[in-house]
């Protein structure tokens, strides 16, 4: 051991970062350069319905054409086979957007629009009918490719990213506050997210309550759920003096049990909330629908309210004090238990709201929808600095924008990779996060 490899000293760090970044970029470059064959049939076995088609030019099949299908519960790519065929399984009897990647067509060939009205003929909608499948074909011929202007595309993605970042922030702030006040890295936070959406599904779709009322009740139930989490599990564990790492593993068990309990009750399919998939609500403004705008507005209002609470109210200040230094806060007469209880109620409510907005964003309610964004939430929280509410907000917006913007360069089915890589790189250069403080040593 005495002559074993030396630890890299601090001088080597910049080089390391550079190497990792280089690796990342070469991976991205590889992705856009890699030729594609096979996988003309994607997700057929896992899904009940399918969208399929044949790509032909003057009757001859075209191989290697990239088709994307996006919509409720599915976002997948297929590449046409030697017969020009492709098929993608989808979970819903619903409308999906099918896009043909024109850059994979031979030189000088494009998707032609017969009516001349459609600016993007390479993208069309396909609705799965009673037969359980739908065919989506394109007219291909010589002609100009539809080039969506790059600026518009960037703005599209910017708004999507902002929308996603804001809803992520609702989720992340709760996670971060719980971590700050109790030290728990709560993996079961994901199930609080799904809980809000599932309650809304039950109330508005199964019980057919009016939407505003259903949302209100769902949020109240979410808050109650947050409270119950603490009262029934975490508080007793704190009392027992269970360590933070064991508690973290307990939260993993809870997450697993909770997630499959949801699946037990609502099944494996994705269901839609009221108005989630109506195309009539599109505003034509950078692809935003009324729901998107409402979602962003709600998120911003709630985030402002949370900020006001933390900065201006007595209880909020006490919360921050407990986050900063629980021992000191207790010594200065703050009722730490009460603060923690309120943090859990808040975390439950915010996660539930985040879940509802996430259900409209994806779109769809499914049993594992919370777990799908859990890692991104952690990424946001770590990015901002564990335990700081405002760090979580900034981290979320960055993650949201990054996830959506990265699809301009990398394949859509890889969009989460970028955010997770950023998480690792940030830990490398600034382990305490953007707003976090260094830990006390010794």
């Amino acid at each position: 051991m005495a002559h074993a490899a030396t630890t890299p000293t601090s001088r080597r760090w910049p080089r390391l970062v550079a190497t990792l970044l280089a690796l990342l970029f070469s991976a991205v470059a590889l992705m856009s350069a890699a030729p594609a064959h096979a996988a003309s049939q994607v997700g057929i076995d896992e899904n009940d319905y399918r969208v399929s088609g044949i790509v032909r030019l003057d009757g001859d099949p075209l191989e290697g054409i990239r088709i994307t299908v996006e919509g409720p519960g599915q976002s997948a790519e297929a590449i046409t086979n030697a017969e020009g065929r492709w098929a993608i399984g989808v979970p819903e009897r619903d409308t999906y957007v099918v896009t043909l990647d024109e850059s994979t067509l031979p030189e000088g060939i494009a998707v032609v629009d017969e009516t001349g009205e459609d600016e993007t003929p390479n993208s069309r909608e396909a609705t799965v009918g009673p037969s359980g499948s739908v065919v989506a074909n394109f007219f291909i011929g010589e002609g100009e490719r539809a080039t969506t202007n790059v600026g518009g595309q960037i703005l599209d993605r910017l708004f999507l990213g902002l929308n996603f970042g804001l809803l992520l922030a609702l989720v992340a702030i709760g996670l971060s506050l719980v971590f700050g006040t109790t030290g728990l890295s709560n993996f079961a936070h994901a199930e609080l997210v799904a809980f809000g959406a599932i309650m809304l599904l039950v109330l508005s779709v199964f019980l057919e309550l009016p939407l505003p009322l259903a949302i209100l009740i769902a949020l109240l139930l979410s808050m109650a759920m947050g409270w119950a989490n603490d009262a029934a599990l975490w508080k007793p564990l704190r009392r027992r003096g269970v360590g933070l790492i064991p508690m973290m593993i307990v939260s993993i068990g809870l997450s697993l049990a909770g997630r499959y309990l949801y699946q037990f009750f609502i099944g494996g399919e994705t269901r839609q909330l009221p108005y989630a998939t109506t195309t009539a609500l599109n505003t034509g403004f950078y692809g935003l629908s009324v729901i998107d705008i409402a979602s962003m507005a709600i998120a911003i209002i709630v985030l402002l309210a949370v900020a006001f609470f933390l900065l201006r109210t007595r209880l909020g200040k006490a919360t921050r004090a407990v986050s900063d230094n629980p021992a000191l806060a207790a010594a200065s007469g703050i009722d730490v238990d009460r603060v923690i209880r309120i943090v859990w109620v808040m975390a439950g409510g915010l996660a539930g709201l985040g879940g509802i907005l996430w259900a409209y964003f994806r779109p769809g309610v499914s049993w594992d929808m919370g777990f799908q964004i859990l890692l991104l939430t952690f990424a946001a929280v770590v990015l901002g600095g564990l335990g700081t509410a405002f760090g979580a907000l900034i981290g979320s917006i960055i993650v949201g924008l990054f996830v959506e913007m990265s699809t301009l360069v990398i394949a859509a089915d890889m969009k989460y990779v970028g955010a997770l890589v950023v998480l690792i790189v940030v830990l490398l250069v600034r382990p305490q996060g953007i707003l976090g403080r260094k830990e006390r040593i010794g």
Binding site: M1, A36, A39, P246, L256, L261, V382, A411, D413, I441
Partner: protein, 327 residues
């Protein structure tokens, strides 16, 4: 009526099953990480995926013989461990947890994306890579064994190979943990600053532990896919959580724990889900569908993890005093 003999037979089959061997091997790797060194690796599924794909891709795309493919799988997991360890082994334990789970997901997304479909088969995965491993099978064709343990020559070969690896890995772990190296590792689990103050290169030891446990994980991945096909959706975080359940069941800082834990876990789980499924079929549980019966096992595993951590953190074999939890 429920066919009890068949139910018990199916459960008993899990004792020798290569899947059980794979979980035991992966849990042994996790015991080195978590139980002995205190590293919270939540990306064991990633190591397994790299082992499986490293093996599958080098066989199918590059036509490597089985042993070279195996070395590729191991090599890739070593590189993965180094990439993970460099940024995170200096940081707090919970950061490692988040980074490893994220890295495992990155690996899985890379294997699932259409971008590399010609190598990975994207969402459909890979099959047909058994060739040269099947050829070196010394067992002549035929069916051997008794009762529920009757298999053909390839099934036996996979079982012998898988459990052979488990035994070798267990012996290595056992020797290491009785050595001065193991003492340093356990010291790091207790308090790494104290060990650092005694002149040990803590970072380097943690890296060694991460690599070693990761190699066990990648071998587990290969054993896992040898009898079947490689499917990327098998390597989700839930896989890691199952391995944690096994580790906690057996005892995190023990050598026998992960192995017996894996056997008990799979026999019990198989019996439980088999029983519930048949009970539903014969109408004993009218409020449940067969699909729902299948989900019950996951709920059960989640609850078992919680109960073990709260009430019996040392597992079945762990020393009562040696709770084997990092602080």
């Amino acid at each position: 009526m429920i066919d009890w003999i068949q139910l018990l037979g199916n459960s008993a089959q899990q004792i020798l099953s290569p899947v059980t061997a794979a979980y035991a091997l992966a849990a042994l790797g996790l015991a080195i990480h978590f139980g002995y060194t205190g590293l919270l690796n939540f990306g064991q599924a990633g190591f397994m995926a790299l082992g499986a794909y490293g093996y599958g891709i080098s066989t199918l795309t590059f036509g490597f013989p089985w042993w070279a493919a195996l070395l590729v799988g191991v090599g890739v997991s070593i590189i993965f461990a180094l990439i993970l360890g460099v940024p995170t082994l200096r940081l707090r334990a919970d950061y490692l947890a988040i980074v490893t789970i994220a890295a495992a997901e990155i690996a899985r997304l890379f294997f699932t994306t259409n971008t590399f479909v010609q190598y990975t088969g994207s969402a459909n995965g890979l099959q047909g890579y058994k060739g040269s491993f099947e050829e070196v099978n010394p067992i002549p064709p035929g069916r051997y064994g008794f009762g529920p343990f009757t298999y053909n020559e390839y099934d036996w070969w996979v079982r012998i190979f898988g459990w052979g690896l488990v035994i070798i890995a267990a012996l290595i772990t056992w020797r290491l943990m009785k050595s001065p190296w193991g003492r340093v590792i356990k010291g790091i689990r207790e308090d790494e600053d104290a060990v650092r103050a005694l002149g040990k290169n803590v970072y380097f030891y943690k890296m060694q532990a991460l690599v070693l446990g990761g190699v066990f994980g990648s071998l587990a991945g290969m054993v896992f896919v040898l009898p079947r096909a490689i499917v990327p959706s098998n390597f989700q975080p839930t896989l890691t959580f199952f391995i944690y359940a096994i580790l906690l069941l057996g005892g995190a800082a023990t050598v026998l724990g992960p192995i017996v834990g894996a056997i008990v876990f799979w026999v019990a789980l198989s019996f439980f889900s088999g029983f519930v499924a048949r009970a539903v079929e014969v109408g004993w549980l009218p409020f449940m569908s067969t699909v729902q019966a299948g989900q019950l096992q996951f709920i059960l595993v989640g609850i078992v993890i919680m109960l073990l951590v709260i009430f019996r953190p040392q597992g079945m074999f762990g020393n009562k005093k040696e709770l084997a939890f990092v602080k």
